[in-house]
């Protein structure tokens, strides 16, 4: 049974997106081999699926795509802002994943995850604002919101609780929701970033 077991499809698709074209077969093959031969027989399906997702997030963390697509205008110190960006995206996606699993496994209300996501955007924006500038803060929070509204929502949709009623499953409406969440993230980024800048100036005397 394990020899034909498959990790979550959405995670494998995400992994392929993160890889260069020449690695899109061999690298998922390596992870699948480890998943089938070592992790799943030893730890069971749920833990193995979780392991696979963490590996994919590890690829996101080391991805050249993020490194080369973060605009150089984010300000100094660049590496630190970049790190905040990675952490904000990873934290938002992990929170989405845990909230979706908790909703499915227990009585947790999926809608309650909203304030938690906003808190993550705000903290990331505050830190980015403090170490760099307001523009960085807005970009970091908006990027986390985009990840939340696309990859995070897709994960929750696949797991179950993020799936909207059939009458709401229209592309223009879904795109509108993604834009709305992104604008919310940017707004939270503005507020968090302002606090970060104020704190930075206060601390500098």
């Amino acid at each position: 049974m394990t020899s034909s077991a498959m990790p979550p499809r959405w995670a494998e698709r995400l992994l392929r997106l993160l890889l260069a074209p020449e690695d899109r077969e061999a690298v998922p093959g390596d992870l699948l081999e480890e998943y089938r031969e070592s992790v799943r027989p030893a730890r069971g399906r749920r833990v193995a699926d979780f392991w696979y997702v963490t590996q994919v997030l590890g690829f996101a963390w080391h991805s050249d795509w993020l490194r080369t697509h973060v605009p150089p205008t984010l300000g100094e110190p660049m590496m630190t802002v970049r790190r905040v960006l990675y952490l904000a995206i990873a934290g938002t996606l992990l929170f989405d994943l845990l909230a979706a699993i908790a909703t499915r496994a227990s009585g947790f209300h999926y809608g309650w995850r909203g304030p938690g996501s906003i808190l993550i955007y705000a903290i990331a924006a505050y830190i980015a604002g403090r170490i760099a500038n307001l523009k960085s803060a807005i970009l970091v929070a908006a990027s986390a919101a985009v990840a939340d509204a696309t990859v995070g929502w897709a994960m929750a949709w696949a797991i179950g609780p993020g799936r909207p009623p059939a009458e709401f499953q229209h592309l223009p409406l879904l795109v509108g929701i993604v834009i709305g969440i992104t604008l919310t993230g940017a707004s939270v980024g503005l507020v968090g970033g302002l606090f970060g800048r104020l704190h930075s100036r206060y601390a500098a005397g």
């Binding site: 020899s3 260069a20 690695d23 077969e25 061999a26 690298v27 998922p28 093959g29 390596d30 992870l31 699948l32 081999e33 480890e34 089938r36 031969e37 963490t54 590996q55 590890g58 690829f59 996101a60 963390w61 080391h62 991805s63 050249d64």
Partner: protein, 109 residues
């Protein structure tokens, strides 16, 4: 003097050397984990392999996959002469830094 290899780069290159002709992604990951005695993310090893190949320290070729990989190919890595030079230089730097000391260091912390 060119940049000295980092310790993780050395771990990955030495794993490729140790595995002889069997150095593909998963085998390298397991070898690095065993040698460093800690859990290592596959993404970290992959990013390092890509970087070392771009520097010309490694070369790679694709080989056919197995059933457990759902037919997906394996990418095998091989150390290049410049990689061997880089490893020797890294070792020489460490030896030079430690020359004159007895290992392990003793005395007050």
């Amino acid at each position: 003097m060119p940049d000295v290899l980092g310790s993780f780069e050395q771990a990955v290159l030495l794993a490729v050397v140790r595995l002889h002709g069997e150095a593909y992604g998963r085998a390298i990951l397991k070898e690095v984990q065993a040698r460093l005695n800690r859990d290592v993310a596959a993404g970290a090893v992959h990013a390092t392999l890509v970087r070392l190949e771009q520097k010309g320290f490694l070369s790679s070729r694709l080989a056919s996959g197995t059933e457990v990989r759902a037919g997906r190919p394996r990418r095998y890595y091989e150390l290049q002469p410049s990689g061997r030079v880089a490893l020797n230089e890294a070792r020489a730097v460490v030896d030079s830094l430690w020359r004159g000391f007895k290992w392990p260091l003793r005395g007050p912390a």
